[in-house]
């Protein structure tokens, strides 16, 4: 009987408890519904009831705190937290929450006190510092968070502790110097973290002040620890980011030494500097490698790279190619000789040191290229090309380039048949790509034209005209038009082609004579139009600028609808600008182009030059 009574008593008690629990559960669900609908007032009322019923329930406590927070009832929240703290006085999380709530209530001092109490609970526990600092970051008190981490570092007597966290906080506070110092600590502690540190620092190296701060800090650190390879790598990376090539080079040299890379680091640097067009530094780097590591696997590439650097450093930009391959306003080729001579010497060195290699073949080609296009030394150009043919015929791409250049050299030497032969070989070569073959075919047609075989030339041009996608088609059209329009007056056309050949041979005075005669023979002939274009160029090359201007003006006036009129007007302006150095006249001439040829492809260039002369900030 007693047992039955006891069972009934337990059962009814349990039922009561379950009913109460179910009731609380239902209330909690209802409060959650209010919460999700944004009705915080009603939600909080229920949460308060629930908390009163079971103040040790963490879920009810959290929900009530959330509600107070939403309603900004911070004093109520603080009361509740303090009540909880009576039960759990050493709860770091709770103390941290108290601090956060004080911070929201804009009571900064009390917030800091609460957080300090949290840290005092177990000051040897690293997690306390993370909890408190995170609460501070959430409250947007970044400086205090940094101080907490630093305190932890001091208490725990570990100068490397929290370096990544402090560094990050400094970096988002835009204190880049301190951020870098922290990352340096991290690097010292764990050199394997180099790439992580680099990625952290790269967050602010995109900005000038960020890059400068990082560089100066790493530079200072490097001075006191010159043997640290990671530090050297970091500094080298920062110099390259800042395009400080000279400094980067010196640091790469050190890096190469310290890491015993045998010149590999220097070579990589030189190649990157060359690609970035930092030619003087690239040259120094190649030279360094050549001098110090003559047995490096990259030695041939370095010697060739060095020579190329010297060559590129001497080249002047001429993207418009207004006068074709000629550059009338650059310094005289005689003045250019010393810089190109050193390039040629360097290429010769490659040939001597690495015979029978592709670098030697390429070096010979570069020598021929410089000799022909820059120095116009046909004998030396031809000699270099002939050596390629004889000794390096196994390097097909070089051989193909050399064949084309040989043809051009033969034309300039007046050996038109030999030139045609070269071009024919190239056009028929099974190794040549289609663009090279088309270039060769055009050159064959051009050779026919220069020899006065106009019909042959026309015939060869027909195939090229059929392919509108080729780079050479425009040139083919232009040549075809000249032949087509003047074929009825073949003698004059022959004179014209003779003059063109003389111009190609850079016999400018003879060319000018031929062209002048042609323009006086039949002043109204169609060919005069084309003649005046080249005659103007020839006078420009001869630095007879007044005559050049007169010729261009004559062309523009006599043949206003000439397809070259706008280009001639631009050339005329260029003669004023760079030949006669008369800015006023140059602007006038450029403006004339804008007025007379508003649809010309050269209008943007004319506008740019006017503004350049005026000194406008563009």
């Amino acid at each position: 009987m007693k047992k039955i009574f006891l069972i009934i008593l337990i059962f009814t008690s349990l039922c009561g408890i379950f009913a109460q629990v179910r009731n609380l559960d239902n209330k909690f669900r209802m409060a959650q519904v209010y919460e999700s609908s944004g009705d915080w007032d009603n939600a909080v009322k229920i949460y308060e009831e629930l908390y009163a019923a079971d103040s040790l329930n963490v879920v009810f406590f959290d929900a009530l705190m959330r509600g107070y927070d939403q309603l900004k009832r911070y004093s109520d929240a603080i009361k509740i937290i303090n009540t909880q703290l009576k039960f759990r006085p050493k709860d770091v999380g709770l103390l941290s929450q108290l601090g956060k709530t004080y911070a929201r209530a804009n009571e900064k001092d009390k917030a800091l006190n609460a957080w300090m109490s949290a840290l005092d609970v177990d000051s040897r526990n690293i997690n306390s510092y993370y909890i408190v600092a995170n609460a501070m970051v959430e409250s947007r008190m970044l400086d205090n968070a940094i101080k907490v981490y630093e305190k932890g570092r001091s208490v725990l007597n570990d100068k490397f502790l929290f370096a990544a966290d402090i560094g990050y906080l400094y970096s988002i506070s835009m204190n880049y110097e301190e951020a870098t110092r922290q990352y340096l600590l991290l690097l010292k502690q764990n050199p394997a973290q180099l790439s992580f540190i680099q990625s952290r620092i790269s967050i602010y190296t995109g900005k000038a002040d960020g890059l400068n701060s990082a560089t100066s800090i790493i530079e200072a650190a490097y001075k006191t620890d010159t043997d640290n390879p990671q530090l050297i790598q970091l500094l080298a990376w920062l110099y390259m980011e800042g395009k400080k090539y000279d400094k980067a080079f010196s640091i790469f040299k050190t890096l190469d030494e310290k890491t015993k890379a045998g010149g590999r680091e220097i070579f990589n640097f030189a190649e990157r500097a060359f690609r970035d067009k930092a030619y003087p530094t690239a040259a120094k780097a190649y030279e360094e490698l050549i001098g110090k590591y003559p047995k490096s696997i990259n030695i041939a590439a370095s010697e060739f790279g060095y020579a190329r650097t010297l060559e590129e450093a001497a080249v002047e930009d001429d993207t418009l190619k207004l006068f074709g391959d000629l550059k009338p306003f650059t310094i005289k080729s005689s003045d250019l000789k010393p810089s190109y001579k050193s390039a040629i010497d360097a290429f010769n060195q490659v040939i001597t040191n690495h015979p029978q290699t592709e670098f030697a073949a390429r070096s010979l080609y570069r020598i021929a290229f410089i000799q022909f296009y820059t120095l116009f030394d046909l004998t030396n150009a031809a000699e270099a090309l002939s050596r390629i043919e004889k000794k390096f015929s196994n390097f097909i791409p070089v051989l193909l380039d050399a064949a084309y250049l040989s043809g051009q050299v033969f034309i300039s030497q007046g050996e038109l048949e030999k030139a045609a032969e070269k071009f024919r070989w190239l056009a028929e070569s099974r190794f040549a790509q289609s663009d090279i073959r088309e270039k060769a075919n055009f050159a064959i047609a051009e050779t026919d034209f220069l020899r006065g075989n106009f019909k042959d030339a026309q015939q060869k041009l027909q195939n090229l005209l059929a392919n509108p996608n080729s780079d050479i088609t425009n040139d083919a059209i232009a040549l075809n038009v000249v032949i087509q329009e003047n074929l009825t007056n073949e003698n004059l056309l022959k004179d014209f082609s003779k003059g063109i050949l003389l111009k190609r041979q850079r016999q400018f005075s003879k060319a000018a004579e031929v062209f002048e005669q042609l323009t006086t023979k039949q002043p109204d002939a169609d060919i005069v139009e084309n003649t005046l274009v080249v005659l103007g160029d020839v006078y420009t090359m001869m630095q007879q600028y007044e005559k050049a201007i007169f010729t261009y003006e004559r062309l523009i006036e006599k043949f206003p609808d000439n397809v070259f009129a706008d280009k001639s007007q631009l050339k005329l302006a260029a003669v004023y600008q760079w030949g006669l150095k008369n800015s006023v006249k140059a602007i006038e001439a450029y403006q004339k182009l804008l007025e007379k040829y508003p649809g010309s492809v050269y209008v943007n260039e004319a506008r740019r030059r006017i503004r350049e002369i005026r000194g406008d900030i563009l």
């Binding site: 944004g38 915080w40 007032d41 927070d69 939403q70 309603l71 900004k72 911070a103 929201r104 804009n106 959430e138 409250s139 947007r140 970044l142 988002i172 506070s173 835009m174 967050i203 602010y204 900005k207 403006q591 804008l594 007025e595 508003p598 209008v603 943007n604 506008r607 006017i610 503004r611």
Partner: protein
């Protein structure tokens, strides 16, 4: 000393006298005509912003002396040739190849003390400038098409424009407006269409930020543009997508520092103060232009003066639970009765903008166009100026705030452009105090969907952009009359 006549023989003297006579006559005719044209324009300009008719101008012509009429007749014969060009006409219709730079020429002319007549609705809103060689050269250099026209042709154009039967008018631009752009000092991963337009058109501007605004420096400027700015203090509501991006974090820290430095507890409070100061600037005669999210964010900030709408991730505490009820729409410039977006993770400020997700049907770049309204040039010159264009149907473009819901626009605000048949308004204008505000929805008129981090639009590829023209109309508009500023 002999005079010139004494040095000549009789036939030469006769010839000289004849030449001199015609020269003087020509000079007289030209100056008289110019006086007449000027008086005609002055008469018209004086009644420019008043409701009235240009009859005043015509009557001044009728009252002109007889000699003037003779001179006019002579002028028709002698000066109709372009050799005697009196004016430079910069057409703004399809004949113009550099619409955007044309505004730069007008602005540049004003900086050189050369007045410009803006011929509203005439050939797309053309500019007429006195024939100075300087202007012609600059047009050439900048690639702006122009026509040198004779005084006779010019007077005919003026007459046509002023004719009551034409919805056209002339506005004299007198002074190059001093332009400021409200822009943060930090680098943000997006561009600003107005800055791009001004830089392309070569219109100079200065940058201002919170310090300058709160110190009252705005009064030094005639025109203010608000860069893509969030005056609600929610950092553009980029939290859900970019809260970990370095630029976002840096922006938040920078803004917080600035707020503290200027004595504000929160960034939202600082921004609201800045918005109120800008509103004051308009009240005292300033011209405000804003695009994209700076438009609705500005009004929301004004309405939320006495409440907190920012969630915890923006200002460290939750928003007021009942902030919606506490919004004061009477403080807004353009909108009313809007609902502020509560979700901090949603990339929208309020229901003023209709986001693509809420639009009926699919938003298609190919079919998204909006239409400019036509206003009476003679009675509503300001909206007419703002809507000048060579096209009246403009390609749509999106932004954080692409459009303004029509039902939420105050009745006092003028709608300048909308997407026909929808609730979407794209371009609005209104007055406040002695100044005006103009708001243009969308981010970049030539990039349908300009995303964060996208490269800037190259305006060399959009020289004739009608969408960009609307921006530049706004920059010249303050030059149309001298305004008094608060002292």
């Amino acid at each position: 000393m002999k005079n010139k006549n004494q040095m000549l023989n009789s036939s030469q003297a006769d010839k000289y006298r004849t030449t001199k006579f015609f020269s003087l006559l020509l000079l007289y005719a030209r100056s008289s005509t110019l006086i007449a044209l000027r008086s005609l324009l002055t008469a018209h300009n004086s009644s420019l912003y008043a409701i009235g008719s240009p009859l005043t101008a015509h009557s001044s012509l009728l009252k002109a002396p007889r000699s003037l009429l003779i001179a006019l007749c002579f002028l028709l014969l002698a000066l109709s040739s372009p050799l005697f060009a009196q004016k430079i006409l910069i057409p703004m219709d399809l004949k113009q190849s550099e619409h955007l730079k044309a505004y730069g020429i007008a602005y540049w002319s004003l900086t050189k003390g050369i007045e410009v007549d803006w011929l509203l609705n005439y050939r797309g809103g053309s500019f007429m400038i006195d024939n100075h060689q300087l202007v012609a050269s600059e047009c050439l250099v900048r690639g702006v098409n122009f026509e040198k026209i004779s005084a006779a042709t010019a007077s005919q154009i003026y007459a046509d424009v002023l004719d009551d039967n034409n919805n056209q008018d002339v506005v004299r631009l007198e002074k190059a407006p001093k332009v400021a752009v409200y822009v943060p000092p930090n680098v943000l991963p997006w561009d600003d269409a107005v800055v791009l337009a001004m830089e392309y058109a070569e219109i100079p501007y200065e940058k201002v930020w919170d310090d300058e605004v709160l110190k009252g420096k705005l009064l030094e400027y005639d025109w203010l543009h608000l860069h893509h700015e969030d005056f609600t203090g929610q950092y553009g509501k980029f939290y859900s997508s970019f809260s970990t991006a370095p630029w976002y974090i840096e922006q938040q820290v920078l803004y917080e520092k600035k707020a503290k430095e200027l004595g504000y507890r929160k960034v939202s409070e600082l921004k609201k103060a800045v918005a109120r100061e800008i509103k004051e600037y308009i009240a005292s005669g300033g011209f405000l232009f804003a695009m994209c999210s700076a438009t609705d964010a500005f009004d929301i900030a004004l309405a939320a003066e006495n409440t907190d709408i920012c969630d915890v991730m923006y200002d460290g505490d939750p928003p007021d639970a009942n902030f919606q009820k506490m919004l004061d729409y009477s403080k807004c410039l353009a909108f009313e009765n809007f609902t502020v977006e509560r979700n901090p993770m949603r990339y929208e400020y309020s229901d003023i903008d209709i986001p693509p997700s809420d639009m009926a049907g699919f938003v298609n770049q190919e079919t998204d166009y909006f239409t400019l309204f036509e206003f009476s040039a003679k009675y509503d010159p300001v909206p007419t100026m703002l809507t000048q264009n060579h096209a009246n149907i403009i390609k749509g473009f999106m932004g954080q705030t692409t459009n303004f819901k029509k039902s939420l626009i105050k009745k006092t605000t003028t709608i300048l452009a909308e997407k026909e048949g929808t609730e979407e308004v794209r371009y609005i204008h209104g007055n406040y105090g002695r100044g005006t505000f103009t708001w243009y929805g969308g981010h970049d008129p030539e990039d349908f969907q300009h995303a964060v981090g996208d490269p800037p639009t190259d305006l060399h590829l959009h020289k004739n952009s009608p969408g960009y023209r609307l921006i530049l109309n706004n920059i010249l508009f303050p030059a149309a009359k001298k305004k008094q500023q608060k002292t």
